[in-house]
Symmetry: D3
């Protein structure tokens, strides 16, 4: 069961509303790198957890934090939409602060929400829950979570670089810090599970002798001239110490 | 910001696990009539609320309750999947409790989640957030919410009638009661806003004299023989008392 | 079976074509608030109607009207696309009536349709038929229909405010009037069915004593400080007169 | 503008209702080969037509016919769902006419519609309007329409072969005949436009000398051994008589 | 099994990068008229081919070519994104080469890919594989393929007309030539199969006497005044010479 | 540019065709854990690679291998569909090897493809390319790839356990081995990039002092009782050695 205090986890303020930046922020709400995704992903991983209770609790706790990030970003979108141009009535070419900006807006911010956030990405594509990865294998799920936080932090940094609004930069610097922590957190679970050697290959429940082991550590070439793009993956011991590339 | 206590809002137990019923329950999680939808819908209505704070608080509070309904149903799905058949190895025809049941399962419960819930409907179609209605018009949103709870309660009743498991019926009788209340709740807001006469037509901010008023209260016929399907809508005063049908 | 006369239900003309407004109009065709949705929604409600024939006829008749609204709006999109800029060949910055406008267009109006309407919304997201609500419960469906017309009229009003083209305003004032009527129409059906007291809770076929009645009229608090957002929903008789909040 | 007479274009009756066949029929309503698609496709081609009026009228007329096919199939789905099993209460294994059948049903026929058709395919995936092809090039659109009717008739034939219900076979034999005609119809338009030689390559408005003509009639090989899969496409005059393969 | 040489099929160069044109090019990658679609469509037709091996080989060979077209276009998108504006920090109105251009970009080129192509269309809608037509009927599939190449070439021509970059025009003139050939190729298969008379109606395996033959060659009128839009389809011998319109 | 030899990478044979297993195999083709996804994901990562050429080559080479896995699985689906029941004509209850099996099939294998594979998952949901992760940050992309191979191998193991067909088990044991290798491969790239310490936090280009560093290594509690779910993530040095939890 969940509760709220009706407050933001971290202050959200906008000095200079920018409706085009509101559209950009949508990617962090409803994009595949966004907060709806991580909130639901950690939630469904928790709901389906059949192992030790502490992982379930830890996942549920962080899922709950992520809900608050949706709230912060939705607030930021609404603040950036204040005083947004609503009209095409004047010549588009005549008003740079009006017409040109409207061209870059998510038009549904005007038409569908009355200047509020959508659960969609920066192109207006609604979030779809096929992106909620919860496989029932905790190691695999931890890598999925690292991925989500890596793409999430990459997105937040790009948003940070896109704006010079002090309020927005402050909010984003908080979300970036949380993404730093969450990358650490999921990797910490992997270490606790025994690290790469213990968890690999995922799932580690399948006896490797049933694999076609000739192919388990070989980098196969598909270049037409028979060449092999070389690197750490084509030479030396495998990462799980159980084979040689 | 949100919090959790890691407990269920109401007890969830299953006496006789049934993996086909697990599939049916998915509709109440990730279907258009389901709990992900109402949780996010009320949340985004709250985040975008620009009117009196009490509506925002009320919406956010109920959104928070709905998150707990996702949790209850996901738990119910997992319990119904215990001991589910995982294999096609025996002749399908030879094992009615195995083969035939597997035919009716959501196969992704086996393949993708390891016997846990998905954020999808009973056909495995992932929930997509285009169903989160938050228009910026509170009266319109209240009708959207009544609709969501009406289809939600209809679904819950059908699920109730589909099972005779005492645990499942108990859980569903709770969810049905909450849907009863939530239908009342959104209608109560409409009454507080002044009722049909005050809120109609939605949005009531547009001066009706700018409409083509000849067509504002007329039931137009498109039957090829010129007949009009008659009823309350074709005769008598309009619902908003501002016109005659 | 259906017929057509090849004419528009109401005249559609555009004095000053505006390809950005063409994009905005797409929301009214293929958005969740749009005409494809209501046409199909009323149609599928009619096709599935198992009660008195008059409701089926009434639904089918209005579904048929809505098809004509798709036609009007598609015509309006095509007219607004006349003489639209098709080229990026000149410097974007050099031609405000060209380059800047193209930035705000739905580029698929150029690339995919040759300057005609798409069955998509203002962001180019195609309409998907999961939005066609037809639950088999007529009262629930009527609330769904009020919702559709409320969001539809809200959208039409916002489009009206966005343009000062006399032709477009005339067309929209007609569509707004029809949305006024259709809100009335679905509420009239609810009155004919006995009004809120008779139809609530939806579905009214489920005996309320089977609910967990302690929870049927209680506004539950999920605020962490135990407070309750108060209003009509937390005090007084319930809307169906069968309980107290 | 459209009209209806509230009657079916051709009688629809079911002697032995079969809820699994109801699911199969959904493909013909909301599948990519189905009737919603052709109805909207021909409609949007008509709405966007900028050439001679007769093509627009012809397209609109046939779009209108297709609406009636949705109606027929939705009626057939509802009839096949009469007396469908709604419950898992008995042991699934105990009742072949109940349990086993329910496994093969679209569960949303029970849960979401109350035994009526959905605008979805046989797997419950809702139709999405990205399948409405209307390119603004009439020759290309005619090939799209032949394709739609070819896949549509293939589907209808497979449905015919799946059932031995006399009523269903009669209905399908009508729809198959209409698909025969519609294949002819779109090819007739191509002939009227001058046939393959005149319309190819599509679009024929682009001067072929601007192409990299060395590659315009060459079947390029991508087999690793340098061999070429031979056939009519690798030898002889091209279909448009303007080149040699 | 597949191979690559890591080279482009045809040179791709951009003289004047244009990030808005990068967005337009996305339609040719991930649009319904694009290269992902044809690559997968021909591939799945090949994988499912149960007839003579030569058709399977021919399809697989051309599918393999199409993979290289995705590669060319993705390269073109990346080149057009070089030096794209990444920031809203300056006043949008102050910098025409920056702000105004960003308004027309696919913002996910900045936020999600770091200036590289997406498998999405020009509106950022991801390609979805329901567009991969492979019906198991070779004649029907050939018409689907002609359609794909007709819409593909129409799109490529529109892109050609949109740009005056010599590099982009050169690349597009190659892709246009390949679309010319591929239109020919699929029609050549139809000729090899016996032409329209032999393959029609599709599927030709269904005995036409089982159709409701009264309706097999009749253009039915749905105009309310009883008129019939006349043309080749309403008079004369049918295209398959087996009936009269 | 790509090539093919028209051969399978590894032999695919089926001793006992099972159309329900054909449906299960679809998840490995068009599911989010499937081969279309990895083929396109590695391809788009290669196309967008702006760093050292060897990573681009390595990605492209492995993308090319994955195309061959789609081919193997599509072949396996077709083989499992041989002799599948196509008809509901007999009593469903009368024929366990027919009727009951059909209930568990993907009905589109009959209706839409004529017994061949679809680019869809085990529930018939078409693959959509929003799952192609290519962020422009190589470290983040490598974690995305480990995730893809972890969920892919988990799926392949579940499919292996579902069948006892020797041919299918042999094919799956090959695909499992390749997934083992690919997990290693992407982790090897991470090691080559300097390992966790060097690549974290992702992206490592953003100066951490700009973060709200108080929150960068703190596991925040959202349990209502103030408790913290404890583990490696709440105590000790962070994984990147740059902070303490
Ligand atoms: Ca977050
Ligand atoms: Ca609820
Ligand atoms: Ca309307
Ligand atoms: Ca038809
Ligand atoms: Ca191509
Ligand atoms: Ca693979």
């Amino acid at each position: 069961m969940f509760y709220t205090d009706g407050k933001l986890q971290f202050p959200v303020r906008v000095e200079q509303p920018n409706p085009v930046f509101a559209r950009a922020l949508q990617q962090a709400i409803g994009g595949v790198e966004g907060e709806i995704r991580v909130a639901l992903q950690y939630m469904f991983q928790a709901f389906g957890a059949r192992g030790p209770a502490k992982y379930r609790d830890m996942l549920l706790n962080t899922a709950t934090e992520e809900l608050g990030h949706i709230e912060m970003l939705a607030t930021a979108v609404a603040l950036n939409l204040e005083n947004a141009p609503l009209s095409l009535q004047e010549e588009v070419s005549a008003d740079a602060v009006g017409g040109a900006v409207l061209n870059g807006m998510d038009m549904r911010h005007i038409l569908s929400t009355g200047l509020a956030a959508l659960p969609s990405d920066a192109n207006g594509v609604p979030f779809d829950c096929s992106h909620v990865y919860a496989s029932g294998n905790i190691a695999g799920d931890m890598y999925a979570n690292v991925t989500a936080e890596a793409t999430g932090r990459t997105l937040a940094v790009r948003l940070f670089n896109m704006t010079d609004d002090p309020g927005m930069r402050e909010m984003l610097s908080f979300l970036i810090a949380r993404d730093t922590m969450h990358q650490q957190q999921w990797l910490a679970v992997l270490e606790e599970l025994g690290g790469e050697q213990a968890v690999l290959p995922i799932p580690n429940s399948f006896p490797q002798e049933k694999e076609q082991t000739d192919f388990s550590y070989a980098y196969l070439g598909h270049m037409i001239d028979g060449s092999i793009p070389e690197g750490r993956w084509s030479d030396g011991p495998a990462m799980d110490k159980r084979g040689m590339f």
